[in-house]
Symmetry: C2
Subunit: 350 residues, 2 copies
């Protein structure tokens, strides 16, 4: 009997890896530092997901239920991995709860950290209460409270969504694109318009990156059915005139300065490397790429491989990723781990 | 013993599905209409792939070798599926080579068809020999011939790459974005600059969609290290003055008409639904989405599912997709198929 696979992180990628292994009859041990499974969609209270439009609590919550109920999956919550010794097929991990796990392979599904908008101070977050993040708007919707201005609880009549907050911004050390914020913002804009039909929603962008089929499902649908307006602009600052928030910048298509009042400004926050990545790098002996994400081998002969043999990686741990692709990558890493732990058995059988 | 899984299509998604099933000890039958495995990257002679920069012949060729050498995978080339009867766990397929396959589940990995640039006649393809497609440039590079003007074999000194040819274009019935052409074009531009350091390369775009970590690996790297120039423009037509190709349009950032001479114009062609999709839809009894791609269930509880139970789908068959994600989705579909064919065995064992 081979050792179980150790999976670190119980978000979409880790959950799907555990389910995939169980489907193949392979036991796994799933460790999460949080007190519940589900990762960002559950812990941050996301609303309806792109592209399924399922509620996060149903979609990812359903994955959590299936994992929790599976006899082949052992879950450790509120737990981290302290040390990992050994080699492919025969690892030994020490957990923070005192237990030890013998593992045939390891999958890091350790995800990302939301960009903290206080690192972009000129855009008003932390200064003005009605400057919020996409995550906060998700929470307003998923909680049932509805989209309201935090300062006084009123329904906003004019909302600006600013894209690329903590993404594509070299001034603050974030060169990467966070991949999904354009589409998520289109989706949220439609949600706001559905709840508040009299509210005007503007999206300020550098490039609209609703790739693939998201193009008409989100970009065109939001404009044509929901009358969301898109403005290519370079935003300089968000201030207040005491009554309204004021977005200042330049419309880069008409080359004119813009100064526009809003009731609410939403930061479409990007995906930072997990704040724990330096620790994870040290504990698991895996290299990080230059931005601080876990480095993935760029080879089709070693899908999901990290720099340490037998330790695989999936999902947003490697850089900004969608939930769909995180789930597929979790399954991909599961296959890589399975190939490793089953290799001796398969060779013996043939 | 459960039936094998029937996989249709031997490109990246189908190859990875077969490998994943084999890793889990599950037999499969892989059917491809072409005379060799590998799908578009092999059949169309792609050069170095995004993002691994491995040569397609090595990267995808390696996958083909591993599949061909696996005892759990039976390959039928130059073969199509004529009929599919039965139900999940117990399908029966008739192949065009006269054989029959009993299958527990089916995976459609039937990919896409490259957009044919003759459907965009005002951009000069088919009229001027030096108007070529990204696929043709890939072939020039992968064959070792180098990037040369087809009309007279000279090395071009000025190359224009036009993005969104057959994508994001409602006039010709292609609303979708083809997801990877921006990044592929940045990659090709760098290849051209490496081979021909005196050649100026311009990329004409609507939005640059080098999402995620491609942002600095391709968009910034191509500009800063390789001096590729990006121009946001609306292209009206490609003509010739008898000596050079002339690209006419409007620079949408400075709002001025542009008329620029080039030696070579490259169409960054998009990904159409597979031309066989209507037939596939009829044979396999699966629904298509409105653009003609194979419809995938929008649910995390049924990843890879089509409208027909037991028939799964992966990769560009569902819409424009990257090779990486196609491979991960192939593995994802493999897990869905495995869960189905192994369910009775697992239930019996527990």
């Amino acid at each position: 009997m081979s050792h179980p696979v150790l999976i670190v992180g119980g978000g979409p990628a880790g959950l799907s890896a555990a389910q995939a292994l169980a489907a193949a009859g392979q036991a796994s041990v799933l460790v999460d530092k949080a007190e519940q499974l589900g990762g960002a969609p559950i812990l941050s209270g996301y609303a309806r997901l792109v592209p399924s439009r399922e509620w996060a609590r149903d979609a990812i919550g359903g994955m959590v239920e299936r994992v929790t109920g599976d006899k082949l999956i052992t879950v450790h919550l509120d737990t981290t991995v302290k040390t990992l010794d050994g080699k492919p097929g025969d690892f030994s991990a020490e957990l923070s709860d005192g237990s030890k796990v013998e593992a045939g392979a390891v999958i890091l599904a350790t995800g990302f950290t939301h960009f903290d908008s206080v690192n972009k101070p000129e855009w008003g977050f932390g200064t003005y209460p009605d400057v919020v993040t996409t995550t906060q708007v998700e929470q307003m919707i998923s909680s049932g409270a509805g989209v309201r201005c935090p300062s006084d609880g009123r329904a906003p009549e004019r909302v600006a969504i600013l894209l690329c907050v903590g993404s594509r911004d070299r001034q603050i050390g974030r060169e990467w694109c966070s991949k999904i914020c354009c589409t998520v913002s289109s989706n949220l804009a439609m949600e706001i318009r559905e709840e508040l039909p009299n509210c005007n929603v503007y999206i300020y962008y550098m490039d609209i990156r609703t790739f693939g089929l998201y193009e008409d499902l989100y970009y065109w649908e939001s404009q044509e059915t929901h009358k969301v307006k898109y403005i290519k602009a370079r935003i300089a600052e968000v201030t207040s005139d005491g009554k309204c928030l004021i977005v200042k910048g330049e419309d880069t298509l008409v080359k004119r300065p813009i100064t526009i009042p809003f009731d609410m400004v939403v930061h479409a926050i990007g995906m930072d490397p997990n704040v724990d990545n330096l620790t994870l790098s040290a504990v698991f002996g895996v290299e990080l790429e230059k931005h601080g994400h876990i480095a993935k081998a760029p080879s089709y002969s070693a899908m999901s491989a990290t720099s340490r043999p037998g330790v695989f990686v999936a999902g947003a741990a490697t850089g900004p990723e969608t939930i769909d692709d995180s789930i597929a990558q979790g399954q991909s890493a599961a296959m890589a781990a399975l190939t490793l732990v089953r290799a001796p058995a398969r060779e013996a059988a043939e």
